[in-house]
Structure formats: structure tokens, C-alpha cells
């Protein structure tokens, strides 16, 4: 994968991956390169943030360590750029693209680079698309900046750059780089630990009290490191929030409504012009998760609901900096109080709802009266469902129990909606339509939007939790159980596709009931015994099922043995993830082979005088071959993107 940065770094990185942390001398020995070359390669890798380094204070020896997660993130480059362009506009896209290519960069350099790109733009429209082609990172998706409008010359590009940059930093997409980020988390931790031990307990720790104190200190210190680089973000966030024009309006209009805020933001950035920035993948993954969740809702519920959900996630995720809790910093019981999680109110969502979304459609209408149990629909669940056991059923029942306990709790804001006759969503008949006329449009729209939120809250997957009644309802998303559901969903899809509906049926039974013997299974599944056996054997061969033999006597004869089938969920999820990685590698390998097959065509197409104008310069048959290859490449890269979606759901979200 790293070949895109050249042979040298890729060789060094591969060696670091296989051998673990090494010194320059060790690397030189293993890669048969001289130390000068190794240092050169390491510099590139550090620039790209792909390796950690750590210098031992006593011996002065520096160790290098690969950062495999950073390397994996290269696959997501295309998705991240796409997301940035969608959400923050094309200026932001240019900035993030620049940072990604450079690995990390100073603010002043970034602005300069931005200006250069903007000036060069009208001439090389295809600049970025060609760029995407060389990096085998799924970038083919986001082909080209051709849709960027060429702006009037008199608009100051610098202001644009500062504007977008401040938004990106405030949102957390770009973050200042600190020294600590170059150390692997374990190194950082052990440094702090040793520091503390040397200063406070030179004789070592004894007893539970001291251990607790020690843990607390380490955690505090780690948190400090994290907070250290959020100062700039907070400053900018404050300025942008307090500026008269809301962030959102600026985004959609693209131009700067409030010059005062802008100036202040610019001055903050100018003060920090030497700050080094890098892309914050943690935050990017949060944004990617939002997109993925929106797609799930579109698939499971509907189009309009998905858009409302996207808006909600957008608002909610401003308060979320990473998908999974950092176990090093957060202690579980500290976060026990359910009320501390981020939540949004319907009012907030409504304010951010894009006016082009028609919330009145997408839900069915009802003709009969009393078909809606408002108390049930508006039920408030103050506590997240417990994530216990491995089966879906258990999770559900666990949640249900809690619901039962505060049965009386429900959000009365829905009753107002009922008065408008809103439960007949699409406006069921003329009389109702007239009644609606007297209601302010805004209120009606708010309640229509709430309907979509309610259906999300009712969903089996638990896309949303209705957790309070302030401001037309407070809402939150319990990501952990939700992602668990979605993992199962992906797994089910895979099983159904591979072993058919009946295979899915059998595995689901096992997941719900645990271990089941040979004889009970057919009657539960309403299938013929031989059919069941064939299916089970097939799935066992593929590694989805396991069988346990329990002999009834010492002879261990097959006839006297009970065979229990079971489904090891944890292992299957892990296996699926591994297979996904492997499939991604297969796609990359195939791409490599295809590239070599078409090497002659590609070498012509890559010539400086041909680039960007392939159609005119290339001979007909060669051009055709070139286009064919591009199609093939697109297909493979697109597939890698899809496989990455699975990895994301299983591992990162």
C-alpha cells in the first residue's frame, strides 16, 4: 500500500511491521540499505505520521515503531476528502487534500499552498483527479475538482483559505500536531508512569490506595496531553459560534457574511501561523460514521427519515470527538451516569434542518382514529439499553425491561401534534387540511420532523433514544449497542448471501438459543433433517459454525454421541473482519497485476505531454485500452471502499 510513497519508505515500513520496533542500525541491517538511506526513508514516514519514534532518555537511542492504523487510514483518504467537500465545501477540500499529501504542514505553508493551487487551477482542471489515480487509495471516487467554481479574481483567496481553515480546525477535522503524537500510546504512558514514580514514589508503590492514586495521576496527565492541542480549536469554535452568522449559513452560502468574526478568526490563525496541522482521523471517522448510519437508515426505513437522521447526527457529532471511548483515558464507571452523554433537542435539530428536505413525506398516513398509541410512541427512555450477552434478543429484552420500569414517562410534546391531525402524515383529507391552515407552518414542520425522529426511536436497531422532553424532546444515540446491531446486520447479510435464507435461519436460531443438538434443530427450523445436516455441514466447512461432540458413554460411538451445534459470535465477527482485510488485499493485488499487464499503455498515458489530454494525444486503440483500464481500476477501488465500510463497522465505529 505504501508503494505510493516510493520503494524506500515502503520497504522500511514493511520491515517495521514484521519485526516490531527497531533502531536505525537494525533497520539498515534488515533492509540491506545503508543508514543514510534509512534515515531518509524514516524522515518521509515521520512526515506522513506513519511511524512513532521514541528516544530513550538514558541511552539516547531512538526506536521506531510502525503505526498500522495510520497506514490503514490511507485507504480512507478518498472517503475523507469526499466527505470534507460535501460538508465543508471545495476550499476545505483543497486544504485537507494538501495536508493529506504533505502528512503535516504549518498553517502558513498551507495558506501559501492553497493560493498556489487556486492560481494554477484554471489551467489544470484535471490536476487532482490525476493525483487520485496515482494514489491507490480509493481516491478515484472523488475524481477531480472540476466542479469547483472558478471565482472572481478580486475575491481574496487568502480570506477564503482562512475561513475554511478555521472551520476545519473548529470542527476538529484538522488538529494541531503535538510532540506526544509521535510517540506510540504505550510509550507515552510509560514515560508518564516512570516520571511519576521517580518523583513521588522512588521506592515503588504499595497498597491499593497508592495504586489508585497512581492510576488517577496517569490518566489526568494523559488527558492533559489531549486537551493541550484543543486550545486553538476551542478559540476558533468560540469565535465562530459567537459570530452573528451561524456556521451553517456560511457553509451553504459559501461567502463570508460576517467580516468582523472573520477578521478575528484570521488574527487567531495568524498568531498561530507556525502551528503544525494534521488530519484528525478520529474525527473524520466520526463523520464517516454519520454518513454510513444515514445510509443504513435509508435502507431500513426510508429516504426522508435518513435525511432527518443525518441532520441529527450532524448536530450531535459536534459534541463527539471520537467514535470509541479511549480506554486509556476514560474509566468506565466514571462515565456511568447516562445523563452526561451528548444529546440534542428537537429544536436544535429543527434549526439545522435543511429547508430543502420535505419532512411531510416518507411516512405512511392512517385513516382510522386511535391507531396511534402516543404514550408509547413518545415514551422516554432515560437509560441506554444494556449490552449484555451476544444475541440480539437479549439486548432487546434488557432494554424492554428498563422501559417497563418508567412506564409513566412520556413526552407530552407529541400530544400537541395529535391535535393538528399530524398523525395522518400526508394530510389525509380536506377537512384536516383546512384545520391545518390555522397552525403556523414552522410548528407543523417541526412536528412532522419529530415523526421521523419517533420512528427512528422505535426502530428495532435503536437508531435513536428519546431521552428527555425539553424543547420538543431530547434525543441521543447509543452508538455502542447500535453498532452491535449493525455488525449483526452485516453478518446476516453475508450469511444470507452465501448460504441462503435457510442458512441464515439456522444460524439465527443457534445465536438465540445457544447450543442445540442435532435432533431439536430441524423441528425448530421446520426443515427436513437431511437438509439441515447438509446446510450445517456446509456452514461448518466455511467456518461459521462449530460442533461439539458429547459422547453418552465411553465407547464414543457416533450413534451414542450427542452433537451440539453452536455459533461463536465473537470469533465469527473477528473472522469476517480478517476475511475483509484479506479481500481488500486481493483487490489491491489484482489491481497491481492489471497495472502491470497494461504497463505499456499506462507509461504512455503518464507522459507529461499526454497527461490531462489523453483523449487527443493517444492513438485510438491505446486510448480505448486506457479507458478500459480506468474502468477496471474504478471497479476495484470502489470495491475496496465497500470492503472498508465493513472494516469500519466492525472495528472503528
Amino acid at each position: 500500500m505504501l508503494v505510493l510513497y516510493g520503494q524506500l519508505p515502503s520497504r522500511i515500513f514493511a520491515d517495521l511491521l514484521t519485526r516490531g520496533r527497531s533502531t536505525v542500525a537494525q533497520l539498515a541491517q534488515h533492509t540491506s540499505l545503508n543508514q543514510r538511506q534509512v534515515r531518509h526513508g524514516i524522515a518521509v514516514l515521520i512526515q506522513l505520521n506513519l511511524i512513532f519514534h521514541f528516544t530513550d532518555q538514558d541511552s539516547g537511542i531512538t526506536y521506531y515503531d510502525a503505526n498500522p492504523h495510520a497506514a490503514y487510514n490511507l485507504v480512507r483518504t478518498g472517503k475523507i476528502l469526499d466527505m470534507v467537500r460535501e460538508k465543508y465545501g471545495s476550499d476545505a477540500y483543497t486544504l485537507v487534500n494538501e495536508v493529506l499529501i504533505q502528512g503535516h504542514t504549518k498553517i502558513s505553508d498551507l495558506i501559501a499552498a492553497f493560493k498556489k493551487v487556486r492560481i494554477a487551477e484554471p489551467h489544470t482542471v484535471n490536476g487532482v483527479s490525476q493525483n487520485g489515480h496515482h494514489h491507490s487509495n480509493g481516491n478515484g471516487v472523488s475524481n477531480g475538482t472540476s466542479d469547483i467554481k472558478v471565482r472572481d479574481e478580486d475575491v481574496d483567496t487568502e480570506d477564503q483559505a482562512y475561513d475554511s481553515l478555521s472551520q476545519l480546525i473548529a470542527a476538529g477535522i484538522l488538529e494541531p500536531l503535538t510532540l506526544a503524537m509521535y510517540q506510540s500510546p504505550q510509550d507515552l504512558r510509560s514515560t508518564i508512569e516512570q516520571d511519576f514514580l521517580a518523583n513521588h514514589y522512588p521506592t515503588g508503590i504499595r497498597g491499593a490506595k497508592q495504586t489508585a492514586e497512581f492510576d488517577k495521576y496517569v490518566r489526568e496527565k494523559l488527558r492533559e496531553f489531549h486537551l493541550e492541542n484543543t486550545k486553538l480549536k476551542n478559540d476558533l469554535e468560540f469565535e465562530l459560534e459567537n459570530g452573528a452568522g451561524s456556521k451553517r449559513r456560511k457553509l451553504t452560502n459559501g461567502d463570508t457574511a460576517n467580516t468582523l468574526t472573520n477578521d478575528r478568526v484570521k488574527s487567531i490563525l495568524l498568531e498561530n501561523r507556525d502551528t503544525v496541522l494534521r488530519v484528525n482521523y478520529d474525527k473524520c471517522v466520526v463523520e464517516l460514521r454519520n454518513l454510513k448510519l444515514e445510509r443504513y437508515v435509508e435502507d431500513l426505513i426510508g429516504d426522508t427519515t435518513a435525511k432527518v437522521y443525518a441532520t441529527l447526527l450532524d448536530v450531535l457529532s459536534r459534541k463527539i470527538s471520537r467514535c470509541q471511548v479511549d480506554r486509556l483515558i476514560e474509566v468506565e464507571d466514571e462515565n456511568d451516569d447516562a445523563s452526561t452523554g451528548p444529546r440534542v433537542t428537537a429544536q436544535e435539530i429543527f434549526e439545522h434542518l435543511n429547508p430543502s428536505i420535505d419532512v411531510s413525506v416518507g411516512l405512511g398516513m392512517l385513516h382510522e382514529d386511535g391507531a396511534i398509541d402516543i404514550r408509547h410512541a413518545e415514551k422516554i427512555r432515560r437509560f441506554p439499553p444494556q449490552l449484555k450477552g451476544s444475541t440480539l434478543k437479549e439486548t432487546l429484552q434488557e432494554g424492554e425491561e428498563i422501559v417497563e420500569s418508567d412506564d409513566e414517562d412520556y413526552d407530552p410534546s407529541g400530544e400537541a401534534a395529535a391535535n393538528f391531525g399530524l398523525y395522518g402524515q400526508n394530510g389525509s383529507d380536506e377537512i384536516k387540511m383546512q384545520a391545518d391552515d390555522s397552525v403556523p407552518i414552522g410548528t407543523k414542520r417541526l412536528h412532522q420532523m419529530r415523526q421521523h425522529l419517533l420512528i427512528l426511536a422505535e426502530s428495532k436497531e435503536g437508531f435513536l433514544r428519546h431521552c428527555g422532553s425539553r424543547d420538543f424532546g431530547e434525543w441521543t444515540v447509543d452508538f455502542e449497542p447500535l453498532m452491535q446491531h449493525l455488525k449483526f446486520l452485516e453478518l446476516d447479510t453475508l450469511i444470507e448471501n452465501r448460504f441462503g435464507r435457510r442458512g441464515l435461519r439456522l444460524t439465527r436460531i443457534l445465536r438465540e438459543k445457544g447450543k442445540i443438538d442435532d435432533k431439536t434443530l430441524p423441528s425448530l427450523a421446520l426443515m427436513k433433517k437431511p437438509d439441515v445436516h447438509v446446510k450445517m455441514a456446509e456452514m461448518e466447512m466455511a467456518g461459521f459454525l462449530d460442533v461439539q461432540e458429547v459422547p453418552r458413554d465411553n465407547n464414543r460411538a457416533a450413534a451414542r454421541t450427542i452433537f451440539f451445534w453452536f455459533f461463536d459470535l465473537e470469533r465469527t465477527l473477528q473472522r469476517t473482519l480478517d476475511n475483509t482485510y484479506k479481500s481488500m488485499v486481493r483487490c489491491l493485488q489484482r489491481l497491481d497485476v492489471e497495472r502491470r499487464k497494461k504497463a505499456s499503455v499506462l507509461s504512455v498515458a503518464e507522459r507529461k505531454d499526454v497527461q490531462g489530454m489523453e483523449e487527443e494525444k493517444l492513438r485510438g486503440d491505446i486510448y480505448n485500452e486506457y479507458v478500459q483500464f480506468l474502468d477496471l481500476e474504478k471497479k476495484l477501488l470502489g470495491q475496496i471502499g465497500k470492503l472498508d465500510d465493513i472494516v469500519a463497522v466492525f472495528r472503528d465505529f
Binding site: G140, D358, S583
Partner: protein, 373 residues
């Protein structure tokens, strides 16, 4: 046997017959018999004597009840049959088969309980069969077992397998069809069929007042803003969603939260019965519940709890065929997919063997060849 005892005996039997008119399987314990007010109170000896006589005449059949010994009534016609039995073995065997009722008795079990010689047992069974007192039948649970039941009796549902079995074989075609019917009922009653134009018409008079873009225009508006999720996979093969969605016009929509009309197992059963699909097969709620469980396991429907009511609704409503389709067609117009189902590796039979430089590898993979074509 004196006169009085004989009268009492007949009275007791008549009283018992009366008492178990509504429940022929009723057992009588000693207290129950005393409570019938036939035998003088506290005269346990008398009762014992009468019971002994009745048992001897096969009008009472002793049973082991959880609270001790009890008796079951045997009709006089049945009791008369015992008089035709010629040997002790026949009586014993017939008693067991008689007691087993509709469940039937396994030949091996009879042998074990009576501790009879194989020959003797076979002889007794043979004689009983030729007298048309008993008959052999097969149970779906174990087809090779030799089972016996009283002549003319219908084997129990457990033995026949209930409505899912036809002639001892699992009727999968019947099950599949019934499943499809259930899904159709659930889909019909738990979702809204929108024809597209209608929604736009009824909404338009209100919304434009405030300049909110209405249904018709939102399509264009959507493109401008909210294509984010789709944009990622713009190049995928799987992008016909948007156009297909629009072209269809008619779609299924989910119903608002809190809807109480999702059909329950009872309602679905009633509807199936009223459709007269399962002729000759008495279909009960528990059978439909079995079907529903399977449908849930297959991810085709899901449970919705509203208070005590457990309703069912279809999943991925908007991806369901909006109109009636053939019963055996797929549920969704767009199947579920993910990265692993589209890449050849997801289904590759030699996935484990595949490695770079090995006999099987991605570079020369024929599945990839086919897929990339």
C-alpha cells in the same frame, strides 16, 4: 357382592359419568369420589370395595397422578372389549396401549414394561391386531419406531407433526407458501402504499406559503445538498437505488411510531383461516407463531411491542415490492448487499488457499476474471 354394593357401584359409575361429561379425560382421586355423595361419608372401606369391583370390571382404570393414585373412567363399550381378550398377555399389552391414548405406545417400551418375551409380545400384538383392537402407525419423530395405537384412533399432533406434515413427510412447499402469505399479510397491514402523486398533491396547498420546497421540487434540492452518503460510492455498481426509487413512483412507506395496528399472531391466524388456504389442516395460533419465529430468524419481519400487544411488521419497508407480487418472488426489489457479497472473495471456495505466489492468487483468479469482465 351384595345387592347394596351392586347398586352403589352402578350409582358411583353413573355419577362419575355425569361429572366428567365435559371433560372425558378427567381423573378421580379418592376425595373426588367421596365428594360425589354416593358412598356414605367416612365409609372408606365401602369405597375401596366398590373401586375394586369397578377396576376388576375394567370400568375404572387406575392412573398414577402427581398427588397419588387416581382413576380414569372407561366407557362401558371399551370395558366390554377386555372380555374378548383371551390371554393375560393380551390384557396387559392392551392396557398399556389403551392408557397411552393418542400418543401411542412404542413396542420396545411395552416389552420393557411388561418384561415379556419377544415371541409372547409379538403373538399378543398379532392377536390384538387381527381382532381389530389395535393398529400400527408411524410417528414423524422417529419413522423407524414400531408404534401401536388403539384401533380407529387418530394419532396425536405430536406424532403426525401437526399441519406441517403430509403423510409423515415435512411439507416444505406448504410451509414456504404459508410463510409468503404471512409476509404478505404483515406487509399489507403494517405499511403504507404511497402512489407518489397523491402525497404531493395534498401537501402542496400548505407548504409553499412559507417557501418550503415541496415534494416535487425536493428532488432537485436533494441533489444540491444531501447526496453525501451516496457520493462516496458514486462509482459502485450498486447505485441504481436513486433512479429506481424515483422511477417506481409507488413505494411502501413505514407507518408512524406508536402505530397499534401491526397484526398479532392471533389476527394473522384468523386471516389465514378466513382465506381458506390451509384446507383440511387445522391451523392454530401456535403454528402461525412458529412461522413468525422463522420469519424473524430470516430477517424478513420484526417484532413491535406496544404495551402488551406484540405485533409484527415487515423490515426494510421502503425496499419491499410496493405492489402484489408472486408469492415465490423475493421480498425486496433491492437485495441486501455489502462489500463482501459483491467481491468474488466473499463466496470463494478456495479463499483459505489463496496467497500471493501460490497456486491460487488474485492475479490469476478466474472469479476475478469473470467479475471484472
Amino acid at each position: 357382592m351384595d345387592e347394596q354394593t351392586s347398586i352403589l357401584k352402578n350409582q358411583l359409575y353413573a355419577a362419575c359419568e355425569d361429572a366428567c361429561r365435559d371433560n372425558p379425560e378427567r381423573f378421580f382421586s379418592q376425595e373426588d369420589l367421596m365428594a360425589l355423595d354416593v358412598v356414605p361419608p367416612k365409609d372408606v372401606k365401602k369405597l375401596l370395595q366398590i373401586i375394586q369391583i369397578l377396576t376388576r370390571e375394567r370400568l375404572f382404570a387406575p392412573v398414577h397422578f402427581h398427588s397419588g393414585l387416581a382413576w380414569r373412567l372407561r366407557p362401558e363399550a371399551e370395558a366390554a372389549k377386555y372380555k374378548h381378550l383371551t390371554s393375560e398377555d393380551q390384557v396387559l399389552v392392551y392396557e398399556i396401549i389403551d392408557a397411552a391414548g393418542a400418543e401411542g405406545a412404542w413396542q420396545q417400551d411395552i416389552k420393557k414394561r411388561l418384561n415379556l418375551q419377544d415371541n409372547a409380545l409379538r403373538k399378543a400384538l398379532k392377536e390384538l391386531e387381527t381382532k381389530r383392537f389395535i393398529q400400527q402407525f408411524t410417528t414423524v419423530e422417529n419413522m423407524s419406531k414400531k408404534m401401536w395405537i388403539k384401533f380407529g384412533m387418530q394419532p396425536s399432533a405430536r406424532a403426525t407433526g401437526g399441519p406441517w406434515y403430509t403423510d409423515q413427510y415435512l411439507d416444505e412447499a406448504f410451509i414456504d407458501t404459508l410463510q409468503a402469505v404471512v409476509v404478505r399479510i404483515i406487509k399489507d397491514r403494517g405499511s403504507y402504499r404511497s402512489t407518489g402523486e397523491r402525497g404531493a398533491r395534498s401537501v402542496s396547498p400548505v407548504l409553499p406559503k412559507k417557501g418550503i420546497i415541496r415534494g416535487g421540487q425536493s428532488e432537485a434540492a436533494m441533489k444540491s445538498k444531501k447526496r453525501a452518503a451516496d457520493a462516496i460510492s458514486k462509482d459502485d455498481v450498486s447505485r441504481p437505488t436513486a433512479p429506481a426509487f424515483k422511477a417506481r413512483g409507488t413505494v411502501r412507506l413505514p407507518l408512524p411510531a406508536g402505530y397499534t395496528g401491526y397484526p398479532t399472531a392471533e389476527e394473522i391466524t384468523a386471516e389465514i383461516v378466513s382465506m381458506h388456504i390451509a384446507k383440511g389442516q387445522p391451523l392454530k395460533t401456535e403454528h402461525v407463531q412458529e412461522l413468525l419465529d422463522i420469519l424473524i430468524w430470516e430477517n424478513r419481519i420484526e417484532e413491535v411491542k406496544t404495551g402488551d400487544r406484540v405485533g409484527y411488521r415487515a423490515v426494510r419497508v421502503s425496499k419491499q415490492h410496493p405492489d402484489m407480487v408472486k408469492l415465490d418472488s423475493e421480498d425486496f426489489w433491492e437485495p441486501r448487499i455489502n462489500g463482501l457479497t459483491t467481491v468474488p472473495c466473499g463466496k470463494c471456495p478456495v479463499f483459505e488457499l489463496c496467497e500471493e505466489g501460490g497456486p491460487v492468487w488474485a492475479g490469476g483468479c478466474e472469479y476475478f476474471d469473470k467479475w471484472l469482465l
